[in-house]
């Protein structure tokens, strides 16, 4: 039998009456019990369907996770494999999404790491370069060689003012290492053991001095290293510093420690030995790795300009001097090459000066004098000259003059390889020269057909002692006197030849005079007529092309044998020699 729970029992026999009552009852019950009826329906549905509803679980799941996570690690252990598998599957399925998700985090971290490495490398390289050429750098290079350490490391140690080489972030109570960073090149021992020992040392010191918990060991020093400890509420920061750090460094330590505590407060409070959550402290710890190096004193710009200017001036002066010396050297070589009797066989420039080698005729110009004339320092040139005979015509002629020692009346000329002697000379000299001349280097033949061996002075004397006498009042040359003039003309012809061969000519002066009787004017005219008469006689004798004649009045004071006062009816002849080309008289009358 089925019954409608919503319908009340009816006792009335009338169906219509009953229906009306039932409807009213139903309406009343609906009005009074509707909320409860709905709840009853829901409860019945739950009882009928006993499976767990996801909606209900979703309401309590976060709280359930949190409560179990606070109790133990079991939930984490259970979920870890599924999370790992899910992550691996997600990476395989959609790697792009993973890359996009972690790129904003990894990108800056990678860039920062690269920048830090490059900066460190550049800094080390620059410092090594700066010091590599200085005097101090050489000293350090020697030290590097002696100790077997890299040069860059020696430079670093000497120029280092301070450097934070390591930073430890250590859990205060357990002494366990939460994170650790080290500068490049720092010597790192076992950081976990060191963390434990650092904590033990602090405990020991604090206990030994009866210090309270807030009184801590702040720093200690070992050799070149100083360890600074900055305490936080849950953990402390220990920096291993080489050198002498500034006090402001502590503020940086403090700042980093505070930031880490703020960001990892929960992880620090619930620390159970797992340091994984503290990997993100890397940035803060790296910010503590300060380094400061001694900067070498930089010369001021003005000093640099002055030094640079002085250097340029010095260089210019040196260049100009070197160019000048080189030009003088070149000129000297050219002059030596053109100089007769000098042959340069080797000329070179060395660091210690110049070097010359060659041949030199003893009659050639002195090379040392030429060096001085060229403006060079003789001590700067080492010259070696070997003697030789030059066949240069100028030197051959000089050599002949030097060896033959000709008298002043002899002229020596070189025609090819023939030596030609002209003029007048003693017979002995002429004979000796004929024998010696061909033996002189550069002379193959000797000619002396133009050489007069009679002495010119003898000829001059023979001419100049001539006196032509005249009758009183007459200017006609007597026949006896013409014979005298014949002898004179013969001597004059010989004299003219000797003079012309020696480059001279004969000047003949004919002077006439009278006695003192008769008028003066008449006497003067007569004197001139007598001189002209002698001249005309001599002109008829063919004296030679090189002889010129002049006439004049002979003053009574110059008459030979006259004692002054009384005159003479004579004419005299005076011969002298004059150089043909130069016009200088070579032989006095």
């Amino acid at each position: 039998m089925s019954t409608d729970p919503h319908r009340p029992h009816r006792d009335s026999p009338s169906s219509e009456g009953l229906t009306s009552v039932d409807e009213d009852w139903t309406q009343l019950r609906t009005l009074l019990l509707s909320p409860e009826q709905t709840q009853l329906d829901e409860l019945r549905e739950r009882l009928d369907n006993r499976g767990v509803q996801p909606r209900e679980i979703s309401r309590v799941l976060p709280e359930a996770f949190a409560m179990r996570g606070e109790t133990d690690q079991h939930l984490s252990n259970v979920l870890t494999p599924y999370v790992e598998n899910g992550f691996v599957a997600a990476v395989r399925k959609s790697p792009r999404a993973i890359v996009d998700a972690i790129a904003p985090i990894m990108g800056p971290a990678i860039r920062q790491a690269i920048a830090r490495a490059l900066q460190s490398m550049t800094q080390s390289f620059n410092r090594s370069l700066d010091e590599s050429l200085s005097l101090r750098g050489l000293h350090w290079r020697l030290e590097a060689w002696r100790t077997g350490r890299p040069f860059a490391e020696v430079v670093l140690l000497h120029t280092l003012r301070y450097r934070v080489e390591q930073a430890f972030f250590i859990h205060r109570e357990t002494g366990l290492l939460l994170h650790h960073v080290a500068a490049e090149g720092a010597v790192v021992q076992d950081q976990h053991v060191l963390s434990g020992m650092l904590t033990a040392i602090q405990n020991y010191v604090r206990d030994s001095f009866g210090a309270s918990q807030d009184q801590t060991l702040d720093q200690f020093q070992v050799g070149d290293w100083t360890v600074w400890i900055e305490q936080g509420s849950e953990a402390y920061l220990a920096g291993v510093i080489r050198g002498t750090p500034p006090a402001t460094l502590r503020e940086d330590f403090r700042d980093a420690l505070d930031r880490i505590h703020a960001e990892h407060a929960d992880a620090l409070t619930h620390f159970d030995g797992d340091p994984a959550p503290f990997k993100t402290t890397q940035t803060y710890l790296e910010s503590c790795l300060h380094a400061h190096y001694e900067s070498p004193p930089r010369p001021s710009a003005l000093k640099l300009w002055i030094l640079g200017g002085a250097g340029i001036l010095l260089l210019s002066w040196w260049g100009a001097t070197a160019y000048q010396i080189h030009a003088r050297w070149s000129n000297l070589l050219a002059e030596l090459g053109a100089e007769p009797g000098i042959v340069v066989t080797m000329a070179k420039s060395t660091l210690r000066g110049y070097r010359l080698e060659g041949l030199r005729d003893p009659l050639a110009k002195d090379p040392s004098a030429m060096v001085i004339e060229a403006g060079l320092e003789p001590s700067g040139i080492k010259a070696v000259w070997s003697p030789y005979y030059s066949l240069d015509p100028q030197l051959v002629e000089t050599r002949a003059q030097s060896m033959l020692q000709p008298p002043r009346t002899v002229k020596l000329d070189l025609e090819g390889d023939t030596l030609v002697a002209t003029g007048s000379a003693p017979i002995d000299w002429a004979r000796e020269t004929k024998r010696l001349a061909p033996l002189i280097p550069g002379i193959a033949h000797y000619r002396d057909e133009g050489l007069v061996t009679a002495p010119i002075p003898d000829l001059l004397e023979r001419v100049n002692r001539t006196v032509v006498h005249f009758r009183s009042g007459s200017s006609a040359v007597e026949p006896s006197e013409r014979a005298v003039l014949g002898v004179v003309s013969a001597a004059l012809r010989e004299l003219d030849q000797a003079a012309s061969q020696s480059g001279q000519r004969v000047v003949l002066e004919i002077l006439g005079s009278t006695d003192e009787t008769g008028p003066v004017i008449r006497n003067i005219r007569l004197s001139k007529e007598r001189a002209e008469a002698v001249r005309s006689v001599l002109e008829g004798q063919e004296l030679g092309g090189g002889t010129t004649m002049t006439t004049d009045i002979l003053r009574s004071s110059k008459i030979p044998g006259s004692q002054g006062g009384s005159g003479a009816r004579i004419a005299i002849v005076r011969a002298s020699l004059t150089a043909t080309s130069r016009g200088n008289e070579t032989t006095p009358p």
């Binding site: 133990d72 859990h171 357990t174 002494g175 366990l176 976990h192 053991v193 434990g196 020991y204 159970d272």
Partner: protein
């Protein structure tokens, strides 16, 4: 990697350092060296396929003259009580030390070991005393640092207890 601080406790010359040395390097030296203060060592062990780094604080042996510093005990996840089987007094020292630890850091996992089992004939600690320790709830192992007996088991057992022990939030 998970890290755990472990303290080595025990009386004077019971063999704490020898046990650590044997555990660390599998080496034993007959030459006795007293520990001054504390020496920290580390060693990784595997528990349920998870590596755990044990930071071993090898404390100096306690005797009448010097007491263990309580500050060294703080932060320990577990500790090892070492006794010398040939000296019965080291049991009392171990008991006193255990009480000190509980008083200082509370209840944390620990394992006790009676060392020098290679000289069993010279033992002063009898079965009765050992039974009393077990009645206190102690885990009592026997071993010899000299022979390397029981050393690995000692540290492995403590590591397992520490990893599975619930981490109580600190006050």
């Amino acid at each position: 990697m998970m890290q755990k601080k472990v303290c080595m406790l025990g009386g004077f010359a019971v063999g704490k350092t020898s046990l650590v040395r044997r555990f660390m390097t599998n080496v034993f030296s007959d030459h006795y060296q007293t520990t001054i203060g504390v020496t920290v060592e580390k060693k990784s062990v595997s528990v349920d396929n998870r590596d755990v780094m044990l930071m071993l604080w090898d404390l100096y042996g306690e005797d009448e003259l010097q007491r263990v510093r309580e500050s060294y005990l703080r932060g320990s996840s577990g500790y090892i009580l070492v006794m010398d089987g040939t000296r019965k007094a080291t049991v009392d020292t171990a008991i006193a030390l255990q009480q000190t630890v509980v008083r200082t850091i509370g209840t944390v996992p620990f394992v006790s070991i009676i060392n020098k089992s290679d000289r069993r004939a010279d033992w002063e600690i009898d079965e009765g005393a050992i039974e009393q320790l077990r009645e206190r709830g102690w885990t009592v192992l026997f071993g010899s640092a000299k022979l390397g007996q029981g050393v690995e088991e000692l540290f492995a057992l403590l590591a397992t207890q520490m990893v599975s022990a619930p981490v109580l939030p600190r006050e």
